[in-house]
Amino acid sequence: MKSFKYSVAKEATGAVRAVSANPAAKFLAGGTNLVDLMKEYVERPSEVVDVSRLNLAQIRETSNGISIGALAKNSDTANHPLVRQNYPLLSMAILAGASAQLRNMATNGGNLMQRTRCQYFYDTAMPCNKREPGSGCGALEGLNRIHAILGYSENCVATYPGDMANALYALDAIIRVRGTNGQDRTIAVQDFHRLPGDMPQKDNNLAHGELIVAIEIPRNNFAAKSYYLKVRDRASYAFALVSVAAALETRGDAIERARVVLGSVAHKPWRSTEAERVLVGKPATVATFEAAAEAALKDAKPLEHNGYKVELGKRSIVLALQRAMSGEVA
């Protein structure tokens, strides 16, 4: 690990000031991703500002939903009574990720900031435009079994690996950020992460030094009919090959509102408004779900080794919607 100066932030604005002042500085919260990447020399900050002691861990009801502190631990968030009762999709997504030990360490803000698990990003002997802009993409014509089928560019075919964010996209979350000017600003979650384009080194739209302080979720009627499906190489403790956050609101036989978000198929959680448009106004049947799945994957362009993700994605969408409808929420 490259040596770095370590300090503990006492308050959020001071932390933002410290990191803004040094282009090679990083915030440290749970450390589950950053410390790992530092050990691998993928991240080489000269300064680490530990924000884990900031008073940003509250989870509370607001006038129009819930506010979840950026520094609340993943495990505390998934198990909070308000989250379990009103946003079970978020609990399910968090609990599908990592292990109990990692969820006890990882924070919600850090979870949004996690970087790709592309092997070429991790291996400093390999080219990677995300790690070393301009060095090329090893995965484009390399081992790309776990890589993107949607929204990629020839500069980067990496995927966003997380689970929690997929649920946040389905729940229309808003990310509250302490800006470098000391003022808060909000970002709709679907505008938080980026597609790679010609700047794959930028995972998201935060400016350097901006700090996530909270995640806000507006009230919704999805709690009774939502499901998080995760498909992976083993039953637990593995990143998704494909995952689906599905949420429905029905009136009578018809679907009134729908959310379909695919995980691990693109550089960001992939909300399919195409699939949602197919679902809304239709009866909640397998035929409707299959039509939605076709719509979601119609633009998929698999690479050499990940063609399976197209069919897997379709079947996963159908199954997730079926399970959401049966009221089974785990």
Binding site: G31, V35, E40, S91, A100, N104
Partner: protein
Amino acid sequence: MDDNQEQQDFDSAEDGSQLSADEERLLDELGLFGVTRREFLGQSTAAVLGTFAFQLLAREEALAALPTAPGAAMAPTPRLENAVRVLLKINGAPQRLEVDSRMALLDLLRERVGLTGTKKGCDQGQCGACTVMVDGRRVLSCLTLAASCEGKDVTTIEGLAKGDQLHPMQAAFIKHDGFQCGYCTPGQICSAVALLQEARNGEASHVTADVRARNRNINLTEEEIKERMSGNICRCGAYPGIVAAIKEVQSGTRTAQTWEFASDERIALAMNPDGKVEVRANEIV
């Protein structure tokens, strides 16, 4: 007489006797205390011990003479870059240390405090061998910066037993053969002990049928135990024993162990090729 008292008595009996300071240090480094130390000494002549100590010192001197590789994590006398002072509690004892900002809690425990029960497996958060409890919750010490542990209360495998009295989870792992090589075991046991509290709290898991239904004091099924312990990998595949151990402690219902030592008679039969030996297909005696 507890272990510490026994060790002190033994150590004081050695004062001014035949062992040199280097030899004492060697025995300490070999982790030989109390009865074990006495037995080791009983089997070793002073000359052998002296040779051991000499070789160890020669090796350390040779290592110390080498230029330190850039980025070397642990030199014989660590020079601290970006030193951070931390005061933390480890197994109830306050520890005040100055650490390199890069040091992981795992390395602090093993290299600075000498608590080598916590194991370094993958060192990148994928195996669970380094699991300890911080403020009562299981975490991975390999991905925890020591510098971030100011004021924290760390419990390692060494902190679970009360003197000679094993923690129930330790005893259950032995009873149910929850390990083979033993390398992942300290992490498995720390993880399992923390799991007991999580179940009491009613925390949900990926296989919980309905996360909206909240119950305290969950009685964990095998499926739940497997999911909740998935962060601890066992390459020997001792999982059935691990699950049985956790199930027994968590449920409070004693269950029979599924193995036993071979009897002398059975061993004798197996050793005698002409004897009539009855060995079941799945059993090695």
